[in-house]
């Protein structure tokens, strides 16, 4: 389990990291927590010539609340999100989802930004980012650009972060009104990855009906996607078990399902409906 040879450079700042990534182009990979990348290197599924270690860039780690949003630095670890008292009030889904990622040692190293940029089809954060309407800040040689979570996940292991660019922080718009959210996951019993995971955020109007919903699934296909048919079916309805089950029954149309030895395409398609229902009901159950 020894990776092929590579060189290692530790960047002291975002600008230095961008410079190194520009210089090495496709030959370089960004190393943060390393808990997605290092396993790939050990299996020689990836063999970059250079690793640019960004873990020492202090500005990229931390959680900042400001007005209508919370900004999470890309290097913020899963454990930081699991433990954050600051986030428990507005975004309880972050702690709920973080607790389900890997194990404590993985959560001590793995990062929020790394997981999003890596875009693993079974990663947990992509579904949560879609449900929360996250905005990704990406820096390159030409400055910074912002990409909505809806446009960020491109394909299997492919996000919108281009060679020579760095995902630096993620904004989560502060929920307003009566909002509930939940992430429900069917974990692979050995790896802990999501066989299927669904994140849901629902907002209720004055009469207690659903005024808006964002529901997203990971693990089903090549990338995390919104379940728009479920969202549309929920709006205007009271979130009773019957109504939620009917909406969840529409989940998964249009997904090109991945099947493997653990879960067939048909099984995943079934799980998407089951977990869409559970996530929406759990979200409805914790509205505040």
């Amino acid at each position: 389990m020894i990776p092929s040879e590579f060189d290692y450079v530790k960047a002291g700042s975002v600008q230095e990291a961008i410079g190194l990534l520009q210089q090495h182009g496709d030959d370089a990979k960004v190393l943060a927590g390393g808990h997605s990348l290092i396993p790939l290197l050990k299996l020689r599924l990836a063999s970059p010539a250079v690793l640019v270690d960004i873990s020492g860039i202090g500005d990229l780690r931390g959680i900042k609340s400001g007005g209508d949003k919370v900004t999470i630095g890309a290097l913020t670890t899963h454990n930081d999100l699991e433990q954050s008292a600051e986030l428990k009030g507005s975004f309880p889904i972050l702690s709920e989802a973080a607790t389900l990622i890997g194990d404590p040692m993985v959560r001590n190293r793995g990062t929020f930004g790394g997981s999003l940029a890596h875009a693993d089809p079974a990663g947990d954060w992509p579904a949560v980012a879609l449900a929360l309407g996250a905005q990704m800040h990406i820096t390159g040689s030409g400055g910074e650009r912002t990409v909505a979570a809806d446009d960020f996940f491109i394909d299997i292991l492919t996000s919108d972060v281009q060679p020579g660019e760095l995902l630096t922080s993620i904004d989560l718009p502060m929920p307003s009104g009566k909002v509930g959210m939940s992430y429900q996951k069917f974990s692979h019993p050995a790896s802990g990855y999501a066989v299927v995971g669904v994140a849901a955020m629902v907002t209720l109007d004055g009469s207690g009906n659903c005024s808006s919903a964002r529901v997203a699934v990971t693990g089903a296909g090549a990338k995390a996607v919104r379940l728009t048919s479920v969202e549309e079916a929920l709006v205007g309805k009271s979130l009773t078990e019957e109504n939620v089950a009917a909406a969840a029954g529409t989940a998964g149309e249009g997904i090109d399902y991945l099947g493997d030895i653990y879960a067939s395409e048909e099984y995943r398609a079934h799980l998407v409906k089951v977990f869409a229902k559970r996530a929406v009901l759990a979200a409805a159950g914790n509205v505040k």
Partner: protein, 162 residues
Amino acid sequence: MATHPISLTINGKGQQSSVESRRLLVHYLRDELGLTGTHIGCETSQCGACTIMLNGSAVKSCTLFAVQADGAEIMTIEGLAKDGEMHPIQEGFWEEHGLQCGFCTPGMIMSTYDLLQKNPNPDEHEIRHALHGNLCRCTGYQHIVKSIQYAANKMQGATVAD
């Protein structure tokens, strides 16, 4: 071959080395420093046998390059006992039969160390949650949980029943 100088503190002692970029931390600890208490089980960050403390947090040393630990403070299982006296966690595993073959034990103990520094009085659910990344194929975990409860009690100064 790309090599890099590293300087770090391991079990309280300063250490300078030159390591190849791709050298895994667990191989550095075991093969270069002879600290073979840290075990290699799965090498795929699943089993937790290679768990060490890095800058105050438990991590899997098979999923870290030695060069990433430049400047770090590391504690391995060898750093726990002081002056020939077992650490209360080690004593707990001894007293409560927390091991059979012992292969997973160093990792179990280092994960426990991380748990008890963050949560000195965990309940059984919290203990099991904290051990999620450590696999034991002998004990069925019951005695490991008891060992950790013993250690938590002892570290809080409580009298431990015989």
